[in-house]
């Protein structure tokens, strides 16, 4: 009866979005997965029914959104099956509102979810931080973490991993948070990372991301630390490439992979190449000798192609094992 609600069993890459009403769940969904302009989310209606959406990326991802006013603990609601099948529980807390109720609600949900599905990832988005001053953001995060910890302790739950993220739809923080959430659901992540590490080591690349083109979430990156500015530049480079490309595309369906290279004044090179399944590899290449079209780029092309083949193989074998 709730079949439409509960995703079909096997894949664990389901994200459940929860939170009190008017917390910003639908806005997050629209901005991240539907490329809506952040300012346009003002006009979104409040969600009244649970909604599920499917996205194809490296993994098949489904995002389920539960409206805040719903009571999950009513007996006629099959919460047990719901929580059993999800990989990550994302709870959205509105940082600009009184969040005490939200924390109580959150800890009740955590208690239940962990009982049903001990392997579940619990992620908390401290949302709408654009309205808070820089200093206050960290205070707010500390306070919420402290209170949640206390609540969980009161419920007798110890040692539960809860990750907190400060997010806002008006900058890249929401993409960053979702990137990390999605990455935890990718079984092959360690292999991907080591492949990317291999690639940058052998091609003098500074930093590389494997992006989902549609949502600008990065599915994987090499193991060097992520600098938010580098991420922003890379993510915007995708937009720019695609915007320009679209201007001259006729009705015929495009088939060729997109590739774009830009030489910067400081000697670095921005590099983008389309991969399989709506993914793109975007990186910053450190071109120290500053010579245009040195063999460097040709070498990188070659290496990137090898990476792409590896990615293909990985995806095929993961499909078989399903």
């Amino acid at each position: 009866m709730e079949a439409m609600l509960v995703p079909n069993g096997s894949s664990n890459a389901t994200i459940l979005l929860m939170g009190l009403r008017r917390g910003g769940k639908s806005s997050i969904c629209k901005v991240v997965f539907h490329n809506m302009q952040p300012l346009d989310t003002l006009y979104l209606e409040s969600t009244s029914k649970p909604t599920t959406e499917q996205f194809q990326s490296l993994i098949d991802l489904s995002v389920m959104e539960l409206p805040g006013q719903l009571n999950y603990f009513e007996p006629n609601y099959d919460s047990e099956r719901l929580f059993q099948n999800i990989g990550a529980l994302v709870y959205v807390i509105d940082s600009q509102d009184e969040y005490l109720n939200a924390i109580t609600n959150l800890s009740m949900i955590i208690e239940y979810a962990v009982k049903v599905n001990p392997k579940i990832n619990i992620e908390v988005l401290i949302h709408k931080i654009d309205g808070l001053s820089e200093d206050y953001r960290l205070d707010c995060q500390r306070d919420i973490m402290q209170r949640t910890g206390d609540e969980l302790l009161d419920l007798g739950l110890e040692g539960i991993q809860v990750s907190f993220y400060l997010t806002s739809i008006f900058d890249h923080s929401i993409y960053e948070a979702f990137s990390r959430i999605v990455q935890k659901l990718i079984v092959e992540l360690p292999y991907l990372e080591s492949m990317l590490d291999n690639l940058i080591e052998n091609s003098s690349i500074d930093k590389i991301f494997l992006f989902d083109i549609n949502s600008k979430i990065y599915v994987a990156t090499d193991s060097s630390p992520v600098d938010i500015q580098t991420y922003e530049v890379c993510s915007e480079f995708i937009d720019i490439t695609i915007d320009l490309d679209n201007l001259y595309v006729n009705e015929e369906t495009s088939s060729k992979e997109i590739k774009s290279i830009s030489y910067l004044n400081n000697g670095s090179i921005l590099y983008l190449k389309q991969m399989i399944r709506g993914l793109a590899l975007v990186g910053i290449i450190n071109n120290e000798n500053k010579s245009e079209f040195s063999n460097n780029v040709t070498l990188i092309d070659y290496n990137v192609n090898l990476f792409k083949n590896g990615l293909k193989k990985m995806w095929e074998s993961s499909r078989i094992s399903d």
């Binding site: 500015q229 580098t230 490439t241 495009s254 088939s255 997109i258 774009s260 910067l264 921005l270």
Partner: protein, 323 residues
């Protein structure tokens, strides 16, 4: 005053968006950043080098009534002499249209007295606030009315609907600036000649700092066909490109740098080359690959195009330095 200095007056009532558009076009602001701007006090001068030997003196005239009164009385000699272009900005959402028009008339009167040869551009600004289907109608009505008003002063108005939230602003400013370039024809001719060598789908010249379109030419085939209706490309593409590249410039300014070139191998066998042409210009070349070409040949072609651009630099530098 040397002839290569061009004086542009930017006028309009307070809050109509003059400084916002100036900041976007000439100072690389994003539309969002313009919220920070306060009211302009008196006249703000900006000097912009445009295409080597041309300097644009942009007089951004604060639109509050106190300043306006001064412009038309004590300062009128100072303000309205040697003007090449008057850009008058109207806020389409304005509550007091009569007052707007009154000031427009005063500006025209003074302009006729002091520099009768000036070109007059009218920007109907903040068009994004008008419903999409009513924009054309509103624009035509207002332009008709304004033209009637300016007829006694013998000015031919050129009007544009603009908004800082889309590419319409670039179109308007491109045309304004192009009207000031004396050797436009030389640019066009040489661009066509260049294309006869390259056989590109389209070549576009941009000014470097503002990324306004200076000149463009489409493919040889299309020129021969002449029936421009067969052109199924987006008619707003130039402005969109300006907009996209500006965004790109802003984006990489986070890395504290600028870009030298951008090469995109797009889907659909299209290749894009954006490269420095002269000290003041960027060139954009759009090439369509012939499908039968093998991958190997394409790689070589990329280098050939870039070499061709390098070779063309000398030409265009020469045109630019022509006084």
């Amino acid at each position: 005053m040397s002839s290569s200095r061009k004086k542009l007056l930017l006028m309009g009532r307070s809050g109509s968006g003059k400084s916002s558009m100036r900041s976007i076009i000439f100072s690389n602001y994003s539309a969002f950043d313009t919220r920070r701007l306060g009211a302009t006090i008196d006249v703000e001068h900006s000097h912009l080098r445009f295409l080597g030997n041309m300097t644009l003196n942009l007089w951004d005239c604060g639109g509050q009534d106190v300043f306006m009164d001064n412009y038309f009385t004590t300062q009128k000699d100072h303000i309205f002499k040697f003007v090449q272009v008057l850009i008058h900005v109207f806020d389409v959402e304005s509550k007091s249209i009569n007052k707007d028009i009154e000031i427009f008339i005063k500006a025209l009167t003074n302009l006729q007295k002091h520099s009768p040869d000036a070109k007059v551009f009218v920007l109907l600004h903040k068009m994004d606030l008008v419903q999409v289907d009513k924009r054309d109608e509103l624009f035509n009505i207002m332009m008709d009315k304004l033209q009637k008003i300016s007829n006694p002063y013998q000015f031919k108005l050129i009007g544009f609907p603009t908004s800082i939230w889309n590419e319409s602003l670039y179109k308007a400013w491109s045309q304004i600036v192009c009207s000031l370039i004396p050797n436009m024809n030389l640019f066009n001719e040489n661009l066509i000649k260049f294309n006869s060598i390259l056989d590109a789908e389209e070549i576009i010249l941009f000014e470097k700092t503002t990324f306004l379109v200076i000149s463009s030419t489409n493919s040889i085939k299309q020129q021969q066909l002449q029936n421009s209706n067969s052109d199924n490309l987006d008619p707003k593409r130039f402005e969109k490109i300006s907009n996209v590249i500006k965004t790109y410039k802003q984006s990489i300014s986070k890395l504290r740098t600028n870009f030298n070139n951008l090469i995109i191998k797009g889907s659909n066998d299209t290749q894009f080359f954006i490269d420095v042409l002269t000290d003041n210009m960027f060139i954009m070349i759009i090439m369509k690959d012939k499908p039968q070409d093998s991958k190997f040949v394409n790689n070589k072609e990329e280098l050939i195009v870039l070499e061709n651009i390098k070779a063309a630099r000398k030409w265009f530098e020469k045109i630019e330095s022509v006084k």
